[in-house]
């Protein structure tokens, strides 16, 4: 696996170190001479000093043979152009871009970037989940954050206690995959009645999660 990483602060160093440990071939393009020297001295990554959206630097970094390119600069425009050049000019099969403005996430995908992620949005949603609901634990995001798996505990104030699943106004695409009651796993049906202290394993899409959590937790 050959990966090119563009830009990024301290993260690049840790990413490069981690990828090298996995035996990936890592090339870093960075315009900061101090950062570049640090990475070159402390990791086994190859370092190219310069702009990641510069065609010559991409070529020098071995874009023709690369399997993936990761663009992490703090300017969305630089990340977009680096990924597009890598993809269209050098045929890099997988391009991943960080977007700084969360609104650009869907736009990047429409402009052909394989994966666009927003650190702002991810941190924001962690904070939302942590501060709004103590009884809720995000278990894992799946499909690049399009699906969330959440553990929801029903307390005595929950409006869902005493109701059956089919009586709940959950979003259409949401699913209660399992109920854990006194350490026992129940496969839920529409007629299953919820009790206090039930743990629900809830599968939702991020846009429906708020509505579902209100239905379950109030």
């Amino acid at each position: 696996m050959r990966i090119i990483i563009i830009g990024g602060d301290k993260t690049v160093y840790f990413l490069a170190r981690q990828f090298v440990r996995r035996k990936y071939h890592v090339t870093v393009i960075n315009r900061d001479p101090v950062r570049s020297r640090e990475i070159a001295e402390q990791t086994k990554a190859t370092v190219v000093l310069g702009e990641g959206s510069d065609v010559d630097r991409l070529e020098e970094a071995g874009a023709r043979q690369a399997d993936a390119l990761l663009a992490l600069t703090s300017h969305d425009q630089d990340n977009l152009i680096a990924c597009q050049l890598a993809q269209r000019l050098f045929g890099v099969p997988r391009t991943i871009a960080m977007v700084n403005d969360p609104d650009n996430e869907p736009i990047f995908q429409r402009l052909g970037i394989n994966v666009a992620f927003s650190a702002t949005r991810i941190i924001g949603s962690i904070i939302d989940q942590e501060t709004d609901f103590e009884d809720i634990t995000a278990l894992m995001p799946l499909a690049r954050g399009r699906i969330n798996v959440t553990d929801v505990r029903l307390d005595n104030l929950s409006p869902a206690v005493g109701k059956t699943l089919q009586e709940l106004d959950l979003a259409e695409n949401s699913l209660v995959a399992a109920i854990i009651r006194n350490e026992e796993v129940i496969v839920p049906r529409g007629a299953t009645r919820l009790q206090e202290d039930d743990h629900l394993v809830l599968i939702t899409q991020p846009e429906n999660q708020k509505q579902d959590l209100e239905v379950l937790c109030g």
């Binding site: 959206s53 510069d54 065609v55 010559d56 300017h75 969305d76 425009q77 630089d78 977009l80 152009i81 597009q84 050049l85 269209r88 000019l89 403005d101 609104d103 650009n104 736009i107 429409r110 402009l111």
Partner: protein
């Protein structure tokens, strides 16, 4: 004026400012975007369009400029990548009929032209102008030479 167009200009530097002044005086509806308020000092006193302070790489700034209703967008900031991104967003996401980006780097310019983005490279234009002058000069010298023979 029957042929009035709604034109968005991103970047109010020397190029953006000149375009904005000329097009505004021709009666078009102009919306100029720049990150710095002081950039609008370049607009003439009779400029009748709108000014928006903000970074057009952020979607909400383009939306504020009513990009959906624009007939035309010129991306003239000093950053090639910003111009190329804004042009693509205008064209692909908002279906603006006419979009042109200024790109200094001749290599990136020709690549994006192939990708279907209309581009202007000042570097290439100047180089061509210089070469043309040189050629014309050569012709003059050659003719001169012929006549003397």
């Amino acid at each position: 004026m029957p042929n009035t167009k709604q034109i968005v200009i991103v970047g109010c530097g020397r190029l953006g400012g000149t375009l904005a002044n000329r097009l505004s005086s021709q009666g078009h509806r102009l919306i100029v975007i720049d990150r710095k308020e002081s950039a609008f000092d370049k607009l003439s006193y009779d400029f009748s369009g709108f000014k928006i302070i903000g970074d057009a790489v952020e979607l909400h700034v383009l939306e504020q400029a009513q990009i959906k209703n624009a007939d035309c967008l010129f991306a003239t900031t000093t950053q090639d990548n910003a111009n190329l991104m804004i042009a693509q967003v205008a064209k692909t996401i908002f279906n603006v009929p006419r979009v042109v980006a200024r790109v200094f780097d001749p290599m990136r310019e020709s690549i994006y032209r192939e990708f279907g983005i209309e581009t202007i490279s000042p570097t290439k234009l100047s180089a061509e102008a210089f070469l043309k002058m040189l050629e014309d000069q050569a012709h003059v010298n050659e003719n001169h030479h012929h006549r003397r023979r």
